[in-house]
């Protein structure tokens, strides 16, 4: 998968590039409008991560150009503006998703993955992790052929973990993924704990393996059974 990351803030750009690179994406970066314009006209990308506010141009303009050249490219907008107008005009121009800064890397990764699944596997999108199989179309999880009964939130949680495997996920990152960032979740991290406890119990009883490690105070990590 080839990704282009358009972001003018070098530290953030490096961070995104680093994490998505780790996740197996082939990342290219463009810190300015002009550079991004060049790259878009020269190469085809699977997904473009696009910052709207660039010092030398408007990301929406770039989006328009991109969609003219490569209508099949997926676009995730990342913006400092939580503006409905920008969101609507972004979607109107063919963007697939919109993330507001500051966001968690895992969330961006999850969005990109969801976008790729939607685009590339029409009908059957199955993620596998060891003996686990996640059918993202039917929202079903099975362990070595045996079905795992999960609630909607547990399913979302599992998917988030698998997509961001080997990464420590903070409670907040999980909470925001499951419930959105509209509420203050700080005193409600108990939920995250509850859902993880339930998911763990189900996984252990069916698969016999606990993929989730608790890192005290910091969060949770999904790793292969060693």
């Amino acid at each position: 998968m080839k990704l282009l990351i358009v972001e003018d803030e070098p530290v953030l750009l490096e961070e995104v590039e680093h994490y998505l690179g780790q996740q197996g994406f082939l990342c290219e970066s463009a810190p300015t409008y002009l550079l991004a314009e060049d790259k878009v006209s020269l190469y085809a990308y699977d997904v473009v991560v696009l910052d709207i506010t660039l010092p030398d141009g408007n990301g929406l303009q770039l989006l328009r150009q991109l969609k003219n050249l490569h209508p099949e490219t997926g676009v995730v907008i990342i913006s400092a503006k939580n503006s409905l107008d920008d969101k609507l005009s972004g979607f109107g121009l063919g963007a697939d998703d919109y993330l507001t800064k500051p966001f968690h890397m895992e969330e961006l990764n999850a969005r990109i993955n969801a976008l790729i699944r939607r685009r590339d596997f029409k009908g059957s999108a199955v993620l596998t992790f060891e003996e686990l199989e996640v059918d993202t179309e039917a929202h079903e999880v099975s362990v070595a052929g045996e079905k795992l009964q999960l609630t909607k939130k547990e399913y979302e949680l599992l998917l988030y973990f698998i997509i961001n495997k080997n990464r420590l996920l903070s409670q907040r990152s999980i909470a925001e993924h499951l419930w959105g960032d509209d509420y203050d979740m700080a005193d409600n991290y108990n939920f995250v704990y509850m859902h993880i406890k339930n998911l763990r119990r189900k996984l252990v009883s069916t698969a016999g393996t606990d993929y989730i490690t608790t890192v005290y105070g910091m969060g949770y990590k999904w790793t292969a059974a060693s």
Binding site: L12, V16, L84, K101, P102, G180, D182, Y183, D187, F191
Partner: protein, 410 residues
């Protein structure tokens, strides 16, 4: 009282007074003149009679009495008397002159009379004429005055209307109508300069707020991502604690920033688009999303709603409901009850809990928190109030017998 009415009324008053004075003066002068004329007439008649008596004959003139008296000559005496008029069958006023003179050695008392002008009728006629004159003068004057004043004052009133609608948060600065009257023109210039200045200051302030919030988001994103990255490394428990604290600080800051940005946008009237929406649906949707929060804290959530359709901003309605629900979850003790009821004219959220000792006005202020809680930004209810203001709704808070009540009246 309106300016036009005031000037017209003053004019009316002045005209009436002048006309009354003129009428009275005219009456007095006329009366004096006529009186003098009658007196002269009576004197003439008297002289003629005296002459005739002197010539040796005793004239028999109607309305004249001549008597020989013993007393000596007297001075002229004018008086009024009533004489029966056989034609009109009523008593008429007459004026008489009585004087005793010595003619040919004899004392004659002679009294001559003349019909008085009917003063009452005189008065009435003059009064009527004046009344009609006064009425038409006043009416015509008032109309002319009113119309003239209205056209003169028109730019003033138009500008007054523009001024009434002026808001510093308007997208354009105020433009007033020009006038050919110098005073109005001066007023316009002063007003335009003043409002332009405040408009400019306000828009630069809101631009600053928005920009500041936006600009803060990027560094916050950097801090957060770096802290996330840091926590990927194996760290000691002590280190982990520091990272967690730093993260929660960043999270709070970014939440606060988002809330401030929303408030700034509400101040700027950035949400002008309104859609037809079903508020009941929104309420159930938001409650559904937060269901787990309620269950986990063992809070009973009771919802009742009528189908209410209204024109409002969808996004803002979602924020409004979620803020009120989040507030309820936050402040309801475990095992408590939260209820939301939507009717045609109001939306009421109630929750059990201890009194917080803040009144309605304080509660909706920015950065005001019930308990000095670390987690809440203290902006949620300020946002609720602002959203209500944008839609022209009213929000009230009250506490009664263990229940906190938030009422939004549409």
């Amino acid at each position: 009282m309106k300016l036009l009415h005031k000037t017209t009324l003053l004019y009316l008053l002045a005209t009436t007074l002048i006309l009354v004075a003129a009428g009275v003066t005219l009456m007095l002068v006329l009366r004096g003149l006529v009186d003098d004329e009658i007196d002269e007439e009576l004197r003439l008649q008297y002289d003629l009679i005296v002459e005739q008596i002197r010539g040796g004959e005793l004239p028999n003139v109607p309305l004249t009495t001549i008597a020989q008296v013993s007393q000596g000559p007297t001075a002229e005496l004018f008086g009024d008397s009533l004489v029966y008029d056989r034609v009109q069958h009523l008593h008429e006023e007459y004026k008489y002159l009585r004087k005793t003179s010595t003619i040919n050695g004899q004392n004659y008392q002679i009294m001559v009379m003349d019909a008085h002008v009917g003063w009452q009728e005189f008065f009435r006629t003059i009064f009527l004429v004046f009344l009609v004159m006064a009425a038409s003068l006043v009416l015509a004057g008032a109309i002319i005055n009113y119309l003239a004043a209205r056209s003169i004052w028109r730019p003033f009133f138009q500008n007054l209307n523009i001024l009434k609608q002026f808001s510093v948060s308007a997208p354009q600065p105020m433009q007033l109508q020009k006038s050919s009257i110098r005073e109005f023109e001066e007023l316009r210039e002063v007003l335009e300069e003043m409002t332009h200045k405040s408009w400019q200051e306000f828009s630069s302030l809101r631009e600053f707020t928005e920009n500041a919030s936006h600009e803060t988001q990027t560094p916050l994103a950097i801090i957060r991502s770096k802290l996330d990255r840091l926590s990927q490394y194996p760290v000691s428990e002590e280190m982990a604690e520091h990272i967690v604290h730093a993260k929660s600080g960043v999270d709070r800051l970014s939440r606060m920033n988002k809330s401030l940005l929303l408030l700034a946008k509400l101040d700027n009237n950035a949400f002008t688009d309104k859609q037809e929406l079903n508020l009941c649906e929104k309420l159930q949707e938001q409650a559904g999303q937060m269901e787990e929060l309620f269950t986990l804290r063992n809070i009973t959530l009771e919802l009742s709603c009528e189908r209410v359709r209204m024109r409002a901003n969808t996004y803002l309605c979602e924020v409004l409901i979620s803020n009120l629900l989040a507030n309820a979850v936050h402040y309801t003790p475990e095992g408590g009850t939260v209820s939301g009821a939507l009717t045609k004219d109001k939306l009421v959220f109630r929750n059990t809990g201890q009194p917080i000792g803040l009144d309605s006005a304080q509660l909706f202020k920015r950065f005001r928190k019930g308990q000095q809680s670390n987690h809440s930004t203290g902006l949620g209810l300020a946002i609720v109030q602002q959203i209500c203001q944008v839609h022209g709704w009213r929000v009230n808070y009250g506490y009664q017998t263990g229940w906190h009540t938030f009422t939004i009246s549409f």
